[in-house]
């Protein structure tokens, strides 16, 4: 009231802190850290080596689309997520659904999972859980109508409850702890039948002889294609590198089955030509390595890549993300439904060399057989830090191999990308010692 109205606007006190708001727009998937991780891994796989087989471009392209650009892989119809190779996929296909292997290899999801998992847990379980609690995870598997979780190792078992809390419908596929006993065979067969019942509930379809046969015809095609591919890896000098082999089988997790078979068949044809033309993928003296242990899953192909960049070649493997997934084939005596289901069940249990079982003499025999069959010079044993069973089996495997004069390198690692320097020292020292040994023997 006194005097003219001041026109200065009152100055608000400066706040003690600045408020930072999150960006309102999310990054397009291709620019996220996760996509970058995948992109980096894929570039190493492609660019660090020259003369990749042309047929591999189907797979490189597939991974680029799914992992780097976030393309959807959502198959038509009902999707059954699986967390382990023990879940019989033939049954899923027979009931008209699509199995999707959920095991994840991304460091990004590993860190998300680390938020609610104990510190010393297996990276694979952390990553899988991290993926499954994310809103729109990559690979884009879409909505899962069921998650089948075989009761394998401790961490997978406990993950069952966590998955349920995340809102996924979970089915515990009961796997026995002992492989050898008759009781476990009976138990597992019953478990598989329970699984069939569960699938019937979810899909609304019945398992019949006809649809199971049709499903088995499709998976048989995949197993056969895989075996032919596997056969090529026996060639010395090598015509095909392990990093590509891992990628091919990793693609099986989520790729459409028939399309995958076609792509592998094309790859096999090309490898046949390469073999005839004596095109080499690795040097003649490159140390040949059998890779065993915790499964390398894209983008965590860190260790096989390291081995091959250092001049070795991974000629074979004994891991559940590659060889063990597709190697064993089912024999059926009478093509009647119950016989088929029982034989399938046996195939998934009896030859399995996963360390979750009490005794694992089969794994040691298998490794020795692989070393012989693929003319390998040494074995690299990867154990994820926190994987108790693989860590404990390391000693007996090392002993068995050393008794037969096969050198073994034991590496404990996880998904974090920061131990490459340390790993490369070990891997290179190992490969060098193999070369020296061969030279001295000559």
């Amino acid at each position: 009231m006194n005097g003219p109205l001041k026109t200065t606007t009152p100055v608000a006190p400066v706040p003690a802190a600045t408020i930072v708001t999150a960006k309102t727009e999310p990054l397009p998937f291709g620019r996220t850290k996760q996509a970058q991780e995948a992109e980096r891994a894929l570039n190493h796989i492609i660019d660090d080596f020259d003369d990749n087989p042309k047929a591999m471009h189907y797979f490189y392209d597939l991974f680029r689309r799914v992992y780097c650009r976030g393309e959807s892989i959502a198959a038509a119809g009902i999707r059954i997520g699986t967390t382990c190779i023990h879940a019989p996929e033939e049954l899923v296909y027979a009931m008209g659904a699509t199995p999707v292997r959920l095991c994840n290899g991304s460091y990004h999801y590993d860190q998300i999972g680390a938020d609610f998992m104990p510190a010393k847990s297996c990276s694979l379980v952390k990553a899988t859980l991290g993926m499954l609690c994310s809103e729109n995870p990559v690979p884009r598997v879409g909505k899962l109508d069921l998650v089948v979780n075989p009761t394998t190792c401790d961490q997978k078992k406990k993950a069952s409850a966590m998955l349920q809390e995340m809102g996924h419908p979970v089915f515990d596929l009961e796997l026995p702890n002992v492989k050898e006993s008759e009781a476990s065979r009976v138990y597992w067969r019953r478990s598989v039948r329970q699984f069939v019942e569960e699938l019937r509930r979810v899909t609304g379809r019945k398992l019949t002889r006809r649809n199971l046969k049709a499903a088995m015809a499709r998976t048989q095609r995949a197993e056969k294609a895989f075996r032919v591919l596997d056969g090529f890896r026996r060639a010395s000098p090598s015509v095909f590198l392990g990093k590509d082999a891992f990628l091919v089988v990793n693609a099986y997790f989520f790729d459409e089955l028939d399309r995958w078979c076609e792509a592998v068949e094309a790859l096999n044809a090309e490898l046949g030509e390469r073999l005839e033309k004596a095109i080499r993928a690795a040097q003649k003296k490159a140390p040949r390595i059998v890779f065993t242990g915790s499964p390398p899953i894209f983008p965590n192909l860190k260790l096989p890549l390291l081995i091959e960049r250092a001049g070795g070649v991974v000629v074979s493997d004994e891991t559940c993300s590659a060889n063990r997934m597709l190697y064993d084939m089912t024999a059926i005596d009478e093509w009647l439904l119950n016989d088929m289901v029982d034989s399938l069940a046996d195939k998934y249990l009896k030859p399995c060399t996963c360390p979750i079982f009490t005794k694992n003499e089969d794994r040691r025999r298998r490794l020795l057989e692989l070393v012989t069959k693929f003319s390998a010079d040494g074995v690299v044993y990867q154990a994820f830090a926190g994987c108790q069973v693989y860590e404990m089996e390391q000693r007996s495997v090392a002993q068995t191999l050393n008794e037969k004069g096969v050198p073994m390198l034991y590496i404990e690692t996880d998904y974090s990308p920061d131990d490459e320097g340390q790993l490369s020292t070990r891997v290179e020292a190992f490969l060098e010692s193999i070369k020296t040994r061969k030279r001295n023997r000559a």
């Binding site: 050198p407 020292t425 070990r426 010692s433 001295n440």
Partner: protein, 274 residues
């Protein structure tokens, strides 16, 4: 006169060694890695050449090893420090009855290596995830006790009472423990002896994984510390070979390998011609 060079580019120190045509050590040099290790490596190499009066062109082959081996592009080849250490220890050990086990304590890691009768590596284990039990631990301890690294050995032997136990498994937490012990009036000697024993226990435990075989060769920078050597000897209970210049064994091994690789290539070259 032909020379062959081995360059060990570690995270803490750079070591260069030169061997002559007959495979005998001509000379070696140690320098700090610093942060510009490429530049420092080059300088260290040139310093050694100058010291020995050798021309660059007389060095026919160079092998780089150690943490920075891949990035030193001027080297002709690179090998892991494990292989190099094996060759070097084998060579030095020849004059002392032969060695089969090597314990190496470096700036940031520690290793145990088993070699065969030709010096080839048969088995090895490394600890490179944790600085406890490495040279870093000694650095930290010396700093807290306000003494020089070279004095550690003297203090060890000057200890009157029994060595104190250091409970912390982590270097960083051990710092606080050391300060606490000092504050409680314990002597530096006893503390240092305790640290040495702590490292020794850890190291020997690592070495047992690889299998201990006579004789045990001990190298790496910290092997200059007589106190540490004594502690390890006690823990091992075996005959040990400690070289006069333990930091340079690996570089020496790399230089020897440089010589054999060069000669082998020459032979192949000649054979191709013939």
């Amino acid at each position: 006169m032909n020379y062959y060079a081995g360059l060990d580019i570690g995270s803490t120190a750079i070591k260069v060694a030169l061997v002559d045509e007959d495979g005998k050590l001509a000379g070696a040099h140690v320098a700090a890695s610093g942060s510009l290790f490429y530049k420092n490596a080059k300088e260290a190499f040139e310093t050694l050449l100058a010291k020995l009066g050798v021309e660059r062109r007389d060095v026919r082959y160079m092998i780089a090893t150690g943490y920075g081996r891949k990035l030193y592009k001027e080297a002709d080849d690179s090998i892991s420090e494990i292989t190099a250490n094996g060759i070097g220890a084998h060579e030095v050990g020849k004059a002392h009855g032969g060695v089969r086990t090597i314990i190496n304590i470096g700036g940031q890691d520690s290793k145990a290596i088993q070699i065969d009768s030709h010096g080839g590596v048969t088995h090895f284990v490394m600890n490179d995830k944790c600085a406890a039990g490495t040279g870093r631990f000694l650095d930290v301890a010396a700093r807290n006790l306000e003494i020089d690294l070279d004095e550690l050995g003297d203090y060890h032997f000057a200890a009157v009472a029994a060595p104190l136990t250091i409970n912390s498994t982590c270097t960083v937490f051990a710092e606080s423990e050391i300060i606490g012990l000092l504050a409680n009036g314990h002597g530096k000697g006893e503390i240092i002896a305790g640290i040495h024993h702590s490292i020794a226990k850890r190291t020997v435990r690592l070495a047992k994984k690889v299998g201990l075989e006579d004789r045990v060769y001990f190298d790496g920078g910290p092997a200059l510390n007589r106190g540490l050597v004594a502690a390890i000897q006690e823990e091992l209970g075996r005959e040990m070979v400690v070289p006069k210049h333990p930091q340079t064994t690996t570089a020496f091994g790399a230089a020897i390998l440089a010589r054999s690789e060069f000669l082998a290539e020459e032979r192949e070259f000649v054979a191709d011609d013939a």
